[in-house]
C-alpha cells in the first residue's frame, strides 16, 4: 500500500509542479456564461459557481494544499524538535518551563487552537502555516523530549561526553540522529493532518483568500451548489481524500519499519 501511496503522491507532486502544463485553463478565469456545468470534454471536472474550470483549480490547488501541508508540518517539526531536544537534554528549570507551556497548549482542542490563531492573525496562506506550526509543536516536542530522556542515559552518550564532546555536538551529532525515527513517522502523518486542517480552515473561510484554488476553500465556496453542481465539490474532495490516504499509507509503512515494538514475525512456511 505504501508503494501505491508513494506513487500517487509522486504524481500529485508532479502535477503540482507542472500545473501550467497540465491544466489548459486559467484556474481563476471566470466565465459567468458557463457556471456550474457538469464535466465535458472541454472542462474535464466541469465548472464552479463562477464558471471557473474545476480541473484547473484542482490541479493548481495541489500546489497550495501540498505546500501548506508540508510547510505546516515542517514548521512544527523544526520548532518542536528544537524545544524537545533542549528540554530533554538540559532538564531542570528549562524542562519544567517548556513542558508546562506545552501542557497549556495541549489542553486546547487542536482545531479550536488553530481557529483562534487564525482569528487573531487574520486569514491567509502564511498565517495558516503559522497556525499549523503552533498546532504540531507541542506534540512533537513531547515525543522528542521523551526520546532524548531515554537516549541520554545510554552508554554511547556517556562515551561521547567522556571524549570531550560539548553540549551542542552531543545534541546534534549523537542524540538527534538517534531520536529521529518516531519523529519521521509522526512528521509524515502530520502532513496528512495539516492538509486536512488547512482544508477545514479554508472551508470555514479562515484559510487562503479567494480566488486562490485551495481544495478546502473550493469545497467551502461550492458547497452551496452541491445539489446543482456536485462536481465542483466532489473533485477537490476526492483530491483531499486520496492525498491524505496516501500519506497515511506511507506513515503506517514507516512506522512498521521503524518502530521496534511493532515488529511482527511470521512463521515461514
Amino acid at each position: 500500500m505504501a508503494t501505491v501511496g508513494i506513487a500517487f503522491l509522486f504524481v500529485v507532486a508532479l502535477i503540482a509542479i507542472l500545473a501550467p502544463l497540465v491544466a489548459q485553463h486559467d484556474p481563476n478565469e471566470q466565465d459567468l456564461l458557463a457556471r456550474l456545468k457538469p464535466p465535458t470534454a472541454q472542462h474535464w471536472f466541469g465548472t464552479d459557481e463562477l464558471g471557473r474550470d474545476v480541473f484547473a483549480r484542482t490541479v493548481y490547488g495541489a500546489r497550495y494544499s501540498l505546500f501548506i501541508g508540508i510547510a505546516g508540518s515542517m514548521g512544527g517539526l523544526l520548532v518542536g524538535v528544537s524545544i524537545g531536544l533542549l528540554s530533554g537534554f538540559f532538564g531542570g528549570w528549562v524542562d519544567h518551563l517548556t513542558m508546562r507551556l506545552i501542557d497549556i497548549m495541549l489542553s486546547f482542542p487542536g482545531v479550536l487552537m488553530a481557529i483562534l490563531i487564525v482569528s487573531v492573525l487574520g486569514p491567509g496562506l502564511i498565517n495558516i502555516i503559522v497556525a499549523l506550526t503552533i498546532w504540531f509543536t507541542p506534540t512533537i516536542a513531547r515525543i522528542m523530549r521523551g526520546t532524548v530522556l531515554v537516549l541520554k542515559q545510554q552508554d554511547f552518550v556517556e562515551a561521547a561526553r567522556s571524549c570531550g564532546a560539548g553540549n551542542l555536538r552531543l545534541m546534534l551529532r549523537h542524540l538527534l540522529p538517534n531520536a529521529l525515527s518516531p519523529i519521521i513517522v509522526y512528521g509524515t502523518l502530520s502532513v496528512a493532518t495539516a492538509i486536512l486542517v488547512a482544508a477545514g480552515l479554508s472551508f470555514l473561510g479562515l484559510g487562503v483568500q479567494p480566488p486562490t484554488p485551495e481544495w478546502g476553500a473550493m469545497i467551502g465556496a461550492s458547497r452551496q451548489y452541491i445539489r446543482e453542481a456536485p462536481n465542483s465539490t466532489f473533485f477537490p474532495g476526492l483530491a483531499i481524500f486520496l492525498t491524505v490516504l496516501s500519506l497515511n499509507f506511507i506513515g503506517d509503512a514507516l512506522r512498521d519499519a521503524l518502530d521496534p515494538r511493532l515488529n511482527v514475525w511470521t512463521a515461514s512456511s
Binding site: N28, E29, Q30, L32, L33, R35, L36, K37, P38, P39, E49, L50, G51, V111, L112, I115, S119, G122, P123, A199, G200, F203, L204, G205, Q209, P210, P211, G216, I219, G220, A221, R223, Q224, Y225, I226, R227, E228, A229, P230, N231, T233, F234, F235, G237, L238, I240, F241
Partner: protein, 594 residues
C-alpha cells in the same frame, strides 16, 4: 408548560435594521457545526457525484426566459383556493424555517431580521406595516398626528388582553413605551426614544398621546411598528424582570410554549385572540442555518415555509410542487468606494470600476433572471425609481480609455502605473449570503477590475469583523454591499456622511471636490429628515441619486427578488415584501389536511 431552555439571549449589539440584512455571527457553536459540515461534505460528495450521470446538466445552468414564479397574491382572501368550510380549516402545525436563533424573545430587544421573523407571532404592534408596505391600524385602531408632526394620539382597541389576562389599555402602552428609555432595561431602542420622545401621556383608558422632542418623520414606522411597538404584558414584565425573555407574554395570535436554542421555537394557538381564533394549532420555527438543508427539508415536507430560497433552487422546488412566491422587495446592492482613502478618491478610477462590471450578466447568469439591473438604487415600480437616472453601462473599453486619459498607463505585467505608483485596490469581502453572496459578487468585481488593469487584493472577514473594517474604512477601497428596507421610500444606501453606517466614508473626506459634495448631501439629508410629505422626500432623495451618479459616490449594481418557498398545503399565507416581520395575518393561515 414552558421549559427553561433559553440560554444566552439578548446579549448582542444593537444594529440598524435597514443596514444589516442578516446578523450572522460566527460563534463557536456555528464553527463546530461548520466543521462537521466540512467533514460531511468531504464524505458525502463522492456519493452524490457517483449518483449523477456525467451528461445530466445541473438545473441551474439553463436560464429561464423570464421568472416563472408566482407573484405575491394581491389580496389575502382565499379567492384562489377551493372553498373549504371554515371549521375544516382548524388544526395542524405550521413549520417555518429560520436561519438563526432569535437574539431575544423580548421584542424590545429585537431589531434584526432573523429574530423578528422568528418571534413576532407572539405579539402585536401598535401600528402594522402591511403587505403594501403601508401603515395600518393594529392595536391602535386609529391615530392622529398634529400638523407640525410633533404629537401623536393613538386610539386603542378595547377588546385586547394579554396571554396572562392582563388587560391591554393606555397604561399598558405607556408602560411599554416608557420601558424603551429606561436605563435599567436598556432596550435596543433606548437611543432613539431618548433622542426623539419627550413624553407619553395617558389621555383616557384607551387613548395615549406621544409628544416628540424633535421632528422624526418616520416615527410611527420606526418606533411603533417594529420591535419597540410590540406590546408585552406589563404585569409579566414587572414580575419577571430580565427573565421575561424566557417567559414571553404578548397579545399575539400564538402563545409561547418552548424555545430550544439551535433547534426550535414552539408557539401554540391563542384561543382568545382579538382578531379571531387562529386556524393553526401551533407554529414551530425551526432553526436551520444551512440554506441547502432548508431546501431539502422544504422538499421533504418537514418545513412548510422557507425565506431562504435562491434562484438556483426555484426549478427544483417547483418540480416538487412547492410554490415559490416572488416578492419584489426594496433591496439595493452596489459597489462601495472608499472616498477618503486610496486610489478610489479619484473620480476616473471610480468611473472605470463602475463601467467594468457586467450587471446584465450577473442578473441573467447568477440570479437566473430573478432580479434586475439597478437604476439609481431602486427597483422598478418603487417610488424612488426614475427612468431619467442613467444606469452604469458595461463598457470595459471606455473604462480603459478613462484610465488612460487619467495618466494610468498599462505596464508589461498588465497593471497600470502613474508616476511610479501602481494602481491597486483592496477589496473587502465577507461570507454573508442574502439574495446574493458577498463573496461571489466581490470575486466578480475583482476579476472585472483586474481586466481593466487594476491590481487587487481581496480579504474575507467574518461578518462582525467585516462591519468593523467597513465602518473604519482603513484598509478597503472597494467592497460589494447590500441593503434592504422595510418601507417604500427608505430604499438606498446610507450616503449621509454623518450616518453610523456611512457606506463610502464621505464624512471623512478632507480634500478635493468631494468636500463640497459631502456638504450638499448633508444639506439634502437635513431637509429630508424635516420633510413630512413623502413625495417631497422622494424628490429630495432624487437629488442625492443624481449626485451619486455624477460623482460616482457608489456604483449601483443589481436588485434581487425575494423568493419564498411555500408548500402547497399551506393556504392563505400572506408574505410581505420585507425581510423582517415577513408574514402577515398568520392567524388566518391554515393547513389543508391530507
Amino acid at each position: 408548560m414552558a421549559k427553561k431552555t433559553l440560554r444566552s439571549l439578548g446579549t448582542e449589539r444593537s444594529m440598524s435594521l435597514a443596514v444589516l440584512p442578516l446578523r450572522q455571527r460566527l460563534n463557536r457553536r456555528r464553527l463546530l457545526g461548520l466543521s462537521m459540515a466540512a467533514v460531511g461534505t468531504a464524505l458525502v460528495s463522492p456519493l452524490i457525484g457517483a449518483c449523477r450521470g456525467a451528461g445530466e446538466a445541473p438545473t441551474a445552468t439553463t436560464a429561464p426566459s423570464g421568472p416563472a414564479t408566482t407573484p405575491a397574491p394581491a389580496s389575502p382572501a382565499a379567492a384562489e383556493t377551493p372553498a373549504v368550510a371554515e371549521t375544516a380549516r382548524y388544526g395542524g402545525e405550521l413549520v417555518i424555517a429560520n436561519e438563526q436563533n432569535p437574539v431575544s424573545l423580548d421584542p424590545h430587544f429585537v431589531r434584526d431580521v432573523g429574530s423578528s421573523r422568528a418571534m413576532f407571532y407572539m405579539y402585536d404592534p401598535l401600528i402594522k406595516v402591511n403587505q403594501d408596505l403601508d401603515l395600518e391600524p393594529w392595536l391602535a385602531e386609529q391615530w392622529e398626528v398634529t400638523e407640525d408632526g410633533m404629537e401623536y394620539t393613538l386610539y386603542l382597541r378595547k377588546d385586547v388582553t394579554f396571554h396572562d389576562d392582563t388587560p391591554f389599555n393606555a397604561e399598558a402602552v405607556k408602560f411599554n413605551l416608557e420601558r424603551q428609555w429606561d436605563d435599567q432595561t436598556n432596550t435596543r431602542y433606548i437611543d432613539d426614544f431618548k433622542r426623539y420622545v419627550e413624553s407619553i401621556d395617558v389621555v383616557d383608558e384607551y387613548t395615549v398621546r406621544i409628544t416628540l422632542k424633535e421632528l422624526f418623520v418616520i416615527f410611527p414606522r420606526e418606533l411603533l411598528a417594529f420591535g419597540s411597538g410590540h406590546m408585552i404584558s406589563p404585569s409579566a414584565a414587572q414580575k419577571l424582570g430580565q427573565d421575561f425573555a424566557q417567559q414571553p407574554i404578548g397579545t399575539g395570535p400564538f402563545k409561547f410554549h418552548e424555545f430550544v436554542q439551535d433547534s426550535h421555537l414552539l408557539m401554540v394557538r391563542n384561543d382568545a385572540y382579538w382578531g379571531g381564533k387562529p386556524f393553526l394549532d401551533s407554529l414551530r420555527v425551526r432553526i436551520i442555518p444551512e440554506q441547502n438543508v432548508q431546501m431539502v427539508e422544504l422538499e421533504a415536507g418537514n418545513v412548510h415555509v422557507s425565506f431562504s430560497v435562491q434562484a438556483k433552487d426555484v426549478k427544483r422546488l417547483q418540480d416538487t410542487g412547492i410554490t415559490v412566491i416572488n416578492q419584489p422587495v426594496p433591496t439595493a446592492s452596489w459597489i462601495s468606494f472608499n472616498l477618503a482613502k486610496g486610489p478610489t478618491r479619484e473620480l476616473a478610477v471610480r468611473q472605470a470600476i463602475a463601467l467594468s462590471v457586467d450587471r446584465e450578466a450577473i442578473v441573467r447568469e447568477v440570479l437566473l433572471g430573478y432580479g434586475q439591473v439597478s437604476r439609481g438604487g431602486s427597483p422598478k415600480g418603487w417610488p424612488r425609481y426614475h427612468e431619467d437616472i442613467p444606469i452604469d453601462p458595461y463598457d470595459p473599453e471606455q473604462a480603459k480609455r478613462i484610465l488612460d486619459e487619467a495618466g494610468w498607463v498599462v505596464e508589461p505585467d498588465g497593471v497600470r502605473v502613474r508616476n511610479g505608483e501602481r494602481l491597486k485596490v483592496n477589496i473587502l469581502s465577507t461570507q454573508l449570503e442574502r439574495g446574493v453572496s458577498y463573496g461571489l459578487m466581490n470575486q466578480i468585481i475583482q476579476q472585472a477590475v483586474e481586466k481593466i488593469g487594476i491590481e487587487t487584493e481581496l480579504r474575507t472577514l467574518e461578518w462582525g469583523a467585516y462591519l468593523d473594517e467597513f465602518r473604519a474604512g482603513e484598509w478597503w477601497h472597494v467592497t460589494f454591499h447590500a441593503q434592504n428596507a422595510n418601507a417604500k421610500d427608505l430604499v438606498g444606501a446610507a450616503i449621509d456622511p454623518d450616518a453610523y453606517w456611512n457606506v463610502n466614508q464621505l464624512g471623512k473626506v478632507t480634500e478635493g471636490e468631494l468636500v463640497q459634495v459631502a456638504e450638499q448631501v448633508r444639506e439634502i439629508y437635513r431637509k429630508m429628515n424635516q420633510e413630512l410629505d413623502p413625495q417631497k422626500r422622494v424628490d429630495l432623495w432624487k437629488e442625492i441619486q443624481l449626485l451619486i451618479q455624477e460623482h460616482q459616490l457608489i456604483s449601483w449594481l443589481i436588485h434581487w427578488d425575494f423568493l419564498v418557498g411555500v408548500r402547497p398545503e399551506v393556504k392563505d399565507l400572506v408574505v410581505k415584501p420585507v425581510y423582517s416581520d415577513t408574514l402577515y395575518n398568520v392567524h388566518r393561515t391554515w393547513l389543508e389536511q391530507s
